[in-house]
């Protein structure tokens, strides 16, 4: 798109950019920088931060373990079954997270379709626990990973796998020693996006896991909580999350912020 663009586009483009700049500016200008470090190190914040990071990391791990095979299957399979699974996996991306939380409750809740057996047989109760936080985060984060990795696998040049097979590598060796290293950029990007999405999850978490301090109150829930009692604290938490987001974007720079 190096050709001349109509000048008329620049006005809405500038307004659009401004629309994104102002909220960020508001956050940074209103932040109580003097008390920033003190607020940050207060026990409830540290608790929420630590819980968030642990749960998001676990959700990212689950995403990798189950999402990678799913992506491989989606990239290789054909026919209506693939389309069906594709739709199911993509659904959480467009579904309101609250609805996702309700659906999770109905499936894995104490009275849920599957959850009642977990409770009856193993005494396992998933909702309103840190495990519930991880599940909710995985539910919303995995689709981003699966689609990113699937795209990577689709653009993988299969002749490299052929070459490896002809050299004596079985399917598992080809996958782990050639395919995965060669799609490493997509894998990395998928993991970072999944982690960011898991870290920011609110709707599904509060519905499925609740908002119990120290148990299921992650950073976004803490921001929401603080906003009602301690607006200054909410701003501090928000600025912290902006910083984390900036860091994640930095990690993604090759993949998303590609400049020709």
């Amino acid at each position: 798109m190096r050709s001349r663009q109509p000048a008329l586009l620049w006005l809405p483009a500038s307004l659009g950019a401004l629309f994104f700049v102002l909220p960020l500016l508001g956050l940074l200008l209103r932040a109580p920088w003097a008390e920033f470090v003190g607020e940050l190190l207060s026990p409830p914040v540290l608790q929420a931060l630590w819980l968030s990071v642990r749960c998001a990391a676990l959700a990212t791990l689950l995403t990798f373990v189950f999402g990678l095979p799913l992506a491989v299957w989606l990239a290789t399979a054909a026919g209506p079954s693939r389309t069906a699974v594709r739709v199911l996996v993509t659904l959480p991306m467009v579904l309101p997270p609250v609805v996702g939380g309700v659906a999770l409750l109905l499936a894995y809740g104490r009275r849920g379709l599957f959850g009642q057996w977990l409770d009856a047989w193993f005494g396992l109760v998933l909702p309103f626990s840190p495990v519930g936080v991880v599940l909710a985060a995985t539910y919303v984060a995995m689709p981003f990973f699966v689609l990113t990795v699937e795209a990577g696998l689709r653009s993988f040049d299969h002749r490299y796998a052929d070459a490896a097979a002809s050299l004596g590598a079985g399917p598992w060796r080809v996958f782990t020693r050639v395919t995965l290293p060669m799609i490493a950029p997509s894998l990395g990007a998928g993991l970072v996006v999944a982690f960011a999405r898991a870290l920011g999850e609110f709707g599904a978490t509060i519905t499925f896991a609740g908002n119990l301090a120290g148990e299921t109150r992650t950073m976004p829930l803490a921001v929401y909580q603080a906003l009602q009692t301690d607006p200054q604290g909410a701003i501090v938490l928000s600025v912290l999350l902006v910083m984390v987001a900036a860091l994640l974007l930095f990690l993604l720079r090759r993949h998303w912020l590609r400049v020709a």
């Binding site: 052929d162 097979a165 002809s166 050299l167 004596g168 590598a169 020693r177 060669m182």
Partner: protein
Amino acid sequence: MSLSADFSAAAGSFELAARLQVGGGETVALVGPNGAGKTSVLRAVAGLLPIRAGVIRFDEQVLDDGSPAGFVPPEARGVGFVFQQPLLFPHLSVMGNVAFGLVARGMARRAANAHAAGWLDRVGLADRARAMPGELSGGQAQRVALARALATTPRILLLDEPLAAADATARLELRRELRSQLQQFAGVRLLVAHDAVDAFALADRIVVVEQGRVVQAGTVAEICGSPRSRYVADLVGLNCFSGTARDGVIELPNGARLVASGARDGAVFATVHPHAISLFRERPSGSPRNVWRAPVLGIEPALDCQRVRLGGEVPLVAEVTARAVSELQLATGGEVWVALKATEVRVQAG
């Protein structure tokens, strides 16, 4: 030691039906137009393209008979495959690439690296062992690919236009390299060549594949002596015609006639060597049965002669000496008398 293949397989949009045999220490080149199915033959032998029916066999061992039970996966076939592109694994060093197949076949890393270093030395790239594939030139990368394939000591060596990716200067050196490596390789060698020079320089026998079928097989001399298709005739630089013969006269599709001694009645395929065509300023007298006047479309210098392109009803290329060109005052746009002995028109059943 020999590879025998007689099979059919789905190759893209058409059905490939190939039949060929390669002995130990022999190099067979598959030639044919683009999209004829040459690469698919190699892929079927390597196990990258399962066949539909027939059988591919190495000595007594069945590699594929079209059934899942009879299919030996590529990693267990003992093939070395050099592809059109080097396809070096970009995340591994040059040495890592050459050692890859050895490690995959169970060799310890240290031993594999030592072995790989030896192979890199043999292709003259010992000093590039630590380089990454992206730092190599096209010719170097293809030499590494060759070393990588040979390092696993395959029984069958498959080369798919191995010189295609190299530029003109690297090509010459690579061809020499390839020839010396092929001579030292004891197994079965099957090569796809798009370029006739590659095929003739490297192969003992030629198999011509067109539209998924083997149309001719034989030694280089046999193929050049009596090409059975336009593609091969063009490949070896002969003039060729298809037409219908009756009473020793071939009628071409445009109505032109060529007298050919010994032509059997029916559809025929005829070739005329460019050397066999004589050109004259005046109408020649004497024995030639085919005489006509033709416009000169162009004159191109060839290795040791001038190639004169002639138009008219029977388009031909004639090869004459540079002296003849000046004596005949041949020039593009001019006209010349063409004479062709009936015995020089070589005819086979089309």
